[in-house]
Symmetry: C2
Subunit: 481 residues, 2 copies
Amino acid sequence: MAEKRTEEKKAVLPAKSNFSEWYNELLQIAEIMDVRYPVKGLYVWFPFGFDVRKRTYAIIRELLDKDHKEALFPLLIPETEFMKEAEHIKGFENEVYWVTHGGKNELDVKLALRPTSETAIYPMYKVWVRSHADLPIKIYQIVNTFRYETKHTRPLIRLREITSFKEAHTVHATWDEAAEQVKEATRIYQEFYRRLAIPTIVSKRPEWDKFPGADYTMAVDTLMPDGKTLQIGTAHHLGNNFAKTFDIKYEDLKGEQQYAQQTCYGISERSIAALISIHGDDKGLVFPPEVAPIQLVVIPILFGKSDEITGACRDVADRLKAEGIRVELDESDERPGAKYYRWEMKGVPLRVEIGPRDLKNNAATIVRRDSGSKETVPLDNIVEEVKKRFEDIRKSMFEKAQRQLKERIFNCNTLDDVKNKIPDGIARIPWCGGRECGLAMEEAVGAGILGIPEGESGRGNGVCPMCNKETGNMAIMAKTY
Amino acid sequence: MAEKRTEEKKAVLPAKSNFSEWYNELLQIAEIMDVRYPVKGLYVWFPFGFDVRKRTYAIIRELLDKDHKEALFPLLIPETEFMKEAEHIKGFENEVYWVTHGGKNELDVKLALRPTSETAIYPMYKVWVRSHADLPIKIYQIVNTFRYETKHTRPLIRLREITSFKEAHTVHATWDEAAEQVKEATRIYQEFYRRLAIPTIVSKRPEWDKFPGADYTMAVDTLMPDGKTLQIGTAHHLGNNFAKTFDIKYEDLKGEQQYAQQTCYGISERSIAALISIHGDDKGLVFPPEVAPIQLVVIPILFGKSDEITGACRDVADRLKAEGIRVELDESDERPGAKYYRWEMKGVPLRVEIGPRDLKNNAATIVRRDSGSKETVPLDNIVEEVKKRFEDIRKSMFEKAQRQLKERIFNCNTLDDVKNKIPDGIARIPWCGGRECGLAMEEAVGAGILGIPEGESGRGNGVCPMCNKETGNMAIMAKTY
């Protein structure tokens, strides 16, 4: 049904160079999200888009399930709990949806739709945590959360209902253990994004940009095609700030009561926004095989009718399916060109064509979606050839994306430099690390400091452009979503 | 962590004969739900309970994915859409939570938290359905829904946040096709419940008890240990009632515009309430192997230290794990009795013990959770013996539950009969099918008519107790949750 509709409209995908329009149209034409739901900032996951989401979130579950447990806490948070943590309230009070009525009755206590779940989960942690032997606790949930966004909304990126918030909340005995967990979280997130062939930069957010109520925030960013960065994961060291507010204490080995140390870290459907934006091209979606709803399409190249070719295509499709590969056999009456168009739009990683000449040579033609490369392979080895290419695709998609990211990180020495480069990507510039200098830099450039990145790229030698002090710290600056 | 806590409290499970207390305590002690969340009718899924939920819903997904597609629609429904269908509003207006504020602003249009998603989904179906070739559409989602319950709430049964509502919404060209789909839905639900070893009764709800806005409602009920029935699934034929309201039309083969015919059908976490209530016993949970988070526990029976026995236990655990069986090896320092207690509480289907005598005979003792039966099996065949027992357990759990259900369906001829029998289960009585007689019967007995069941048990010969007319219809009556 869906294909038909798309074709009726003869929707044309704008070029990717026109990123914003390309993005919006692609989501609709390729049936990821329907943007026609009658409330601003709320969108519908088409079945095809939901399939991508399911496979993407299966990866994060796989990675977390090694030492986290999945649970589920309520959506509704009573105002009395929500209002306990002062910093936290300040950070969210303008964004919270409030339920005030049940049926025709006004509620005694207003209920917040969780914008994030600290205040729903930590009253339970208060009763769950008793002794050092209860620690660490590592729990996550995947839920819908809500933000009353007043800015321009955008599917998967800036939403009023975040439908796919994966939030983990851990409790530890010591501050250092919690800090280790924050590191572990960013490590897991980087692994997750590698599986999606998405390169990332991890940096410590400046003091003024941390999570409300946290000691510090580590963030995972990636670069979008339009030169703006997208925050696609965060991990917060909460210290004992929430533990004090929610009275989460444990008895230590000496029998003394101690406040617990906590972390939380989250990922949302922005992961899918990045997946689509970074890999897609003028023809539509491009998926790494692991998350592609359809991994391979088989297309018979017929001149008139040919039972032989049809038979060979079915046989290939069956053999690949038997290996667990998600195969579509397109035997429809359309011209091959129309079929190419459709399956390229859907991001199918491999296309297998069998025509008369292929069949004569007992071969098939394999076309890669990511590179467009075309090769002839023996039919007898088709399963191995396909599997090999799946691995190649993931690797070369990641390498390509990584190259593109690197090319768009510019080393700068002056704020004018930064201003010139920032429309194209990320600027790297010395920064003393001071709050005043940082805020002044942001002001001067009209862009944000993402932070000082982990590893090599956060170190260097230079002079802070504001205070002129020598520094070994390099900050990165960018326009952000 | 969790085990420890439970033991500290030395929580004691009431006898199952005291059903209501047994149920509430079991959910907490066995760590299915935490009932201490600070809002009435909202509960927390412990990781263990969530695991049961995950496996249970994997079954319904497996069954539906054969010819449905999973999608996801927004939680928030604008008042303007929600208020379009008059019958539907009447059915839900006292139960709907309303979001009236975003941040500090009052919203222009109030937003309902979906109590069910017809009014969220059908505005989209209006734009998705164009031609007969678009039909049928079969989509489902698994989401949280909300009801402002004013009655006594109860975890998994009567909730303010239904966290696990699986709702399917289909669109068809003809009324008959939709009716077929309703049949298919109840068939799928019965299969689902067979996998959970839960016997069901399918009946057509009386006119006055159908879904608001439906042509008719088929319901799937089961009998709870306290003699009340629990509705654990419904399927509604919506006719073209909603199609007219939401303007869902398709062009038929003759090029004419026709209103579509629709169905919807749902299942919630009541499925897990039934699973727990029907199979559990005085010792705690009893699970069919398919949904048990832990399928088998291996317990070394040691008198002092024995590397040989520990080694044999580890070997058995490894061999079973290699087969994909979810195994726990309990090498803790506790006495075997304490271990039995814990794993019985958690519903682990099989316990494997290896003690000195077993080892001498190259054997192991296998204890079934459902029947308590104890057998010695050769260690060499342990994998096959375990697999065989898993299948036996599911079968005999279902047979036992079916027997218990049958024993508690009572054939009655008079309303006095019904009144006497209904505290123990379900009463079967002739009913002419008329509305007036039906309502009078309900009034006289103080219990509901579930409807006329499908198949044999809905047919018979008798006289309607109200109008004294002869009838071939047999209705079932029960106290309901």
